[in-house]
């Protein structure tokens, strides 16, 4: 295909990808009467921040936003604290009869459970310990989701660090944990960062568990808040789109920061490149 055709096609693809997002942004900035206007106005319209002010200024969305931030942070931290040692344990120690592979596979397989399968039992379990509609309860559930991912991702990174690194330190009298902290972790910092980003994004985007396990502002997250604006008779476009735009910004920022590891993180299997 001629070069110009190829560039043209690429531009069309890029536009097709971005147009709906752009449209969402314009809806969030338009006055209500303009949102429904015909013909649709893509560029020239009267912009207003009223929807953002309504939704976030003293509205529930500010609370949903903070909930989402807290939740993403807590569950990522917990998953890293529990998962990184596990990844290290699988990567570094001798395991008989390839148990490390089996354990690793088992841990990974739990990630493949469809959420709808465990949602009702988890609801009942959390209710039993009084953690329904709490950020802590939801954070625990999210940690369970992120954990296999952390273990799998970090194991790959640990495998790439030569054993000699911490062996040298341990010969000098350092403990294994100390060697991990002082020598190995700094070497896998980029991997840790990428893993953290994936966990944050997962918690930020998650919907089904938040929908069922939260009931009031105490724990409702941004995706749930957005969904609750989709009513039967009228859709509150302004609030919904403003919240949607705010919801997507952190993800785009984080993703661009971790783009080098996007493939690895998404593919659950290093596509050696």
């Amino acid at each position: 295909m001629k070069t110009t055709v190829r560039y043209f096609a690429s531009i069309v693809a890029a536009l097709a990808a971005l147009a709906p997002v752009y449209w969402l942004i314009t809806i969030s900035l338009k006055r209500e009467v303009d949102q429904f206007a015909y013909p649709p106005r893509w560029i020239a319209f009267h912009a207003t921040l009223q929807h953002y002010a309504e939704a976030f200024g003293g509205g529930s969305f500010a609370i949903y936003f903070l909930n989402s931030v807290a939740l993403a942070g807590m569950s990522t931290l917990a998953a890293l604290l529990i998962g990184v040692p596990a990844a290290y344990g699988l990567a570094r120690f001798e395991w008989p009869r390839r148990w490390d592979q089996r354990v690793g596979d088992w841990i990974l397989s739990t990630r493949m459970l469809p959420p709808i399968v465990t949602i009702v039992p988890l609801f009942l379990m959390l209710r039993g310990v009084g953690l329904i509609n709490t950020l802590a309860g939801l954070a625990i559930v999210y940690t369970g989701f992120n954990l296999p991912f952390v273990v799998w991702m970090m194991r790959g990174f640990f495998d790439e660090v030569p054993r000699e690194m911490e062996e040298a330190a341990m010969l000098d009298g350092d403990s294994r944990a100390g060697a991990l902290l002082r020598i190995v972790l700094p070497l896998v910092k980029p991997g840790l960062a990428a893993t953290a980003v994936f966990c944050l994004v997962f918690a930020w985007n998650e919907f089904l568990f938040a929908l069922i396990l939260t009931q009031t502002e105490a724990a409702m997250t941004l995706p749930v808040g957005i969904a609750s604006r989709v009513t039967q008779y009228e859709i509150q476009w302004g609030a919904m789109s403003a919240a949607g735009v705010v919801a997507m910004l952190p993800v785009l920022v984080f993703a661009s920061a971790a783009q080098k590891y996007l493939v690895r993180g998404l593919s659950l299997g290093a596509v050696k490149g």
């Binding site: 449209w23 969402l24 649709p40 596990a86 344990g89 959420p115 399968v117 949602i119 369970g144």
Partner: protein, 281 residues
């Protein structure tokens, strides 16, 4: 340096404990619920009902249709885009970044954006078509019985083609250039070298992409929930949505659990093939 297993196990134990509590125990609990009736007695009734449930059959068929159609289109488009962008001399990362955006959005946000776009009276899609002179009275997108499933598939294609694009792009970049150069010198056409060299080398990435995507498609929930809630009627109801409706609208947890189990079995079959495919590389 060799260490006895117990030491290594201690590092992994907390993770295993957490996963047992949060994934395995709920699973066992769900099976128990599926095998219990309202009064607490053990029964196979839920599974028996599943065998005759026409609504479940419809949901299963719709899930398969949805998965197959979305997968086919996403694969074709994703491959085409990967080849296209890979062949560009300049601005490759710019195009790539733009194309990846839909995949990074929270699925709820993507669904909300498309819901606005699809609105038959006020949405920009019908608005633009009307502007171009088309009569949009029949274009009901997600509101129409026959067009709803297609409309939902379109949203998934928009959102997740970038995923396949990304994996295949990475795969393409890993392909060594020498065989292709040699083929070109030998006079092979673009199509021939694609078919005989590129495609076989790309196969692992393709299999990976297809399996991963298929697994996610089978349990799709978020987008359809926002776009149509499974409607109109049951036109876009996939298995996940039927399970959700049975559990939370009809309060029948036992039956929902039975269906979840079936869904789980299907997913496990996918993931087994996925694991095997990942190993044979």
């Amino acid at each position: 340096m060799k260490t006895r297993v117990p030491a290594g196990f201690a590092w992994v134990a907390p993770s295993i404990a957490v996963l047992l509590a949060l994934s395995i125990y709920p699973l066992i609990f769900a099976v128990k619920v599926a095998l219990t009736d309202a009064s607490g007695a053990a029964t196979f009734a839920n599974f028996a009902r599943l065998a005759h449930d026409r609504v479940f059959a419809t949901a299963a068929v719709q899930t398969v249709l949805f998965t197959a159609a979305a997968l086919a289109v996403e694969f074709a488009l994703g491959l085409a885009l990967a080849l296209l962008v890979d062949s560009l001399a300049r601005a490759r990362s710019l195009f790539r970044a733009a194309i990846l955006v839909p995949m990074l959005l929270p699925p709820v946000v993507a669904a909300v954006a498309w819901r606005l776009i699809y609105n038959p009276q006020f949405g920009v899609l019908n608005g633009t078509l009307r502007r171009m002179g088309l009569n949009t009275a029949a274009l009901t997108w997600t509101d129409g019985d026959s067009s709803a499933l297609l409309s939902v598939i379109l949203v998934d294609v928009w959102e997740w083609t970038p995923f396949i694009f990304l994996l295949l792009s990475a795969g393409l970049q890993a392909i060594p250039q020498e065989p292709l150069e040699a083929a070109r010198i030998d006079g092979a056409s673009g199509w021939q070298s694609f078919r005989d060299i590129t495609l076989p080398l790309l196969k692992p990435a393709i299999v990976l992409a297809l399996l991963l995507r298929a697994m996610d498609l089978v349990r799709i929930f978020d987008q359809i929930f926002i776009l149509t809630q499974g409607g109109p009627g049951t036109a876009t109801e996939t298995v996940s949505l039927y399970i959700y409706r049975t559990a939370f609208r009809f309060s029948n947890f036992g039956y929902a659990a039975a269906m979840s189990f079936v869904l789980l079995v299907a997913t496990v079959m996918f993931s087994r093939s996925l694991m095997k495919a990942m190993k044979t590389r």
